[in-house]
């Protein structure tokens, strides 16, 4: 994979006077959905603003698909950014908001009109498009911002808390839209506090804390590297006691708790791959296994282990 289809942060730091924004960030973001996860003030928005040229790095180099953020004329043909700022130019309707900025892109009237309506349709806001944004609900404002960020068909979509203010139906539709965009080969970079939704949609995560990247990569990959936190695996089976007695013979199994209903057990292991191999063997020896699922191989657990439960509140 070349840097021309990645978003590259090369030793990037940003200080606001004496206050640290982010420090020595080295990440390469491939296509797909990447989530930025971290508590408030961890540097998520700073990272996004640096990526889009709204902030200048104090140190380091940033490239988005091989383009510097200081070259807006090229970069914003490839990138759309739905910011967290819940503010709009005064007096505009939803349609005018999307249309007018498309004209600033250089689109002629007909093209801008077509693109604006297409984007508004994608976020299901056609009926309200001719109303003033000042009268929109929070969810509608969120959707019109999203429409504005995707209207020109970018290759990179940066979304700062895009699910904020959306009702459950709009959330599901928006997440489906992100999935479609990512499936088309787009980079979708999302920051969100809603960890279970991040978990459901992300191909990879970047965990930030106090301005530092503390982990990055695919969720499973990051989790498996965390040796100090044994992996938890949930097994539903007909003979949990027998399974427990067999697995305890292995040194990579740390703990096994049999469920109260006697129909399963929770295992903590330092080597999930070896454990799954052993479980195959146990199944072949006649134990009926209904299901096997990792219990802490998700963003929520990564967040808790790496950042801490206090900060996640």
């Amino acid at each position: 994979m070349t840097s021309s289809n990645q978003i590259v942060f090369d030793n990037v730091s940003k200080f606001y006077g004496d206050v640290l924004g982010i420090n020595r960030v080295n990440v390469s973001i491939p296509p797909g959905i990447t989530s930025l996860v971290g508590p408030n003030g961890s540097g998520k928005t700073t990272l996004m603003n640096l990526m889009t040229g709204l902030l200048q790095p104090t140190r380091g180099r940033i490239e988005v698909l091989g383009i510097s953020p200081n070259d807006p004329e090229r970069m914003f043909r490839e990138l759309g950014y739905c910011t967290q700022f819940d503010s709009f130019p005064k007096g505009l309707t939803g349609y005018e908001f999307v249309y007018s900025y498309l004209r600033v892109y250089g689109c002629l009237h007909q093209e801008a009109d077509d693109l604006a309506w297409r984007a508004i349709e994608r976020v299901n806001l056609v009926e309200a498009a001719k109303r003033k944004i000042a009268g929109y609900s929070k969810g509608m404002r969120q959707r019109i911002k999203l429409a504005q960020s995707i209207c020109h068909g970018p290759s990179v979509l940066v979304l700062d808390e895009p699910l904020n203010g959306l009702d459950p139906l709009a959330r599901a539709e928006t997440i489906a839209l992100f999935r479609t965009l990512a499936a088309d080969g787009m980079h979708v970079i999302i920051s969100s506090h809603i960890l279970h939704e991040v978990d459901a949609i992300s191909d990879q995560v970047i965990l930030l804390s106090n301005g530092y990247v503390i982990a990055e990569g695919e969720i499973h990959g990051v989790r498996s590297e965390m040796q100090e936190h044994p992996m938890q695996i949930l097994i539903r089976c007909n003979k949990p006691s027998e399974v427990a007695s067999q697995i305890f013979q292995k040194d990579y199994v740390v703990e096994a708790q049999i469920h109260r209903d006697g129909r399963g057990l929770l295992v903590r292991t330092r080597d999930a791959d070896k454990f799954y191999l052993m479980l195959n063997q146990i199944a072949m020896n006649g134990v009926g296994i209904e299901s096997v699922a990792p219990a802490d191989d998700d963003v929520n657990s990564l967040y808790e282990y790496l950042i801490g439960p206090e900060e996640s509140k």
Binding site: L55, N70, E73, T83, F85, P89, K90, G91, V104
Partner: protein
């Protein structure tokens, strides 16, 4: 091709600015300031008509010139341009909407050019329209023959053209200064006071420093010298220590404005969006 694109972008910015900024309630005070002399001169004419007494034409012409130099140019156009041009960027920072422009594929210098043109269009249209109305209001109580004599056989048309030209140049000069101030400074009061003091102190500055001032060029272009007709301290605002010819004043002011705009253009390339600290 690239030139066409940039022209299209400038046009789009101009359209958007006219739509969302200049017909907003925020700008009402600028229009009130711009058109306040119309009320003054209109009142004067009404009073004269009511009395049925002819007024001294020369005196009226000097009063018009005095109000133009002491109030209109120094205060109305100055603060009007402050309101219009400082808000081009500062207003958007306060509204937290500047980032929408910064997230479009437009060079920031081109964006600035579009905004500056939008500001100029509004400022020149407003202040020049006001001059025309002021002129009409001031001389409304004279009969048609007197006016024809003044306009077409005297210096009337030339004076009017000079006032319009000086006003347009003032918009360009102050517009460029306040555009740059809106990009560089967070608090508009600081540049406003600084520039006001600098412009007022112009007659006392060394010759070389006088040239870095908008009023230096404008005073030389005003059609009537009213310094001897106005008492202290206002006469200080109209005195021209070392008048220069229009052939130098006009290009000189345009050069100063261009330098300021280019300087602002360099600065805006690295301007950051940090609404949280406003």
């Amino acid at each position: 091709m690239l030139t066409n694109l940039r022209l299209a972008q400038i046009y789009a910015v101009l359209r958007l600015e006219l739509k969302k900024t200049f017909f907003a309630r925020r700008g009402i005070w600028v229009y009130l300031l711009a058109f306040s002399p119309v009320l003054l001169f209109g009142g004067h004419s009404l009073l004269m008509l009511k009395r049925g007494q002819p007024c001294d034409f020369g005196l009226d012409t000097n009063i018009f010139a005095g109000v133009f130099q002491v109030f209109y140019l120094r205060l109305a156009v100055f603060f009007g341009c402050l309101g219009i041009f400082m808000n081009l960027f500062r207003g958007e920072v306060l509204d937290k909407s500047l980032h929408y422009y910064f997230l479009t594929p437009i060079r920031r210098e081109v964006l600035m050019a579009g905004k500056f043109l939008a500001g100029l269009l509004v400022a020149i249209a407003t202040f020049c329209l006001s001059i025309l109305l002021q002129f009409a209001a001031m001389y409304a109580h004279y009969d048609a023959a007197t006016m024809q004599e003044y306009l077409f056989r005297g210096h009337g048309i030339w004076h009017l053209a000079a006032y319009l030209g000086v006003t347009a140049l003032a918009c360009i000069g102050y517009g460029s200064v306040f555009l740059a101030a809106g990009i560089f400074m967070r608090n508009p009061i600081i540049p406003a006071v600084t520039i006001l003091v600098w412009e007022a102190a112009n007659p006392f500055l060394p010759a070389i420093l006088q040239k870095f001032s908008v009023i230096y060029y404008l005073k030389s272009l005003c059609p009537i010298d009213v310094a001897s007709d106005i008492g202290p301290p206002f006469n200080l605002l109209t005195v021209t220590v070392d008048p220069i010819s229009p052939a130098i004043a006009i290009p000189g002011l345009l050069v100063v404005a261009t330098i300021v705009v280019l300087w602002a253009g360099r600065r805006i390339r690295t301007m950051e969006i940090s609404y949280g600290t406003e």
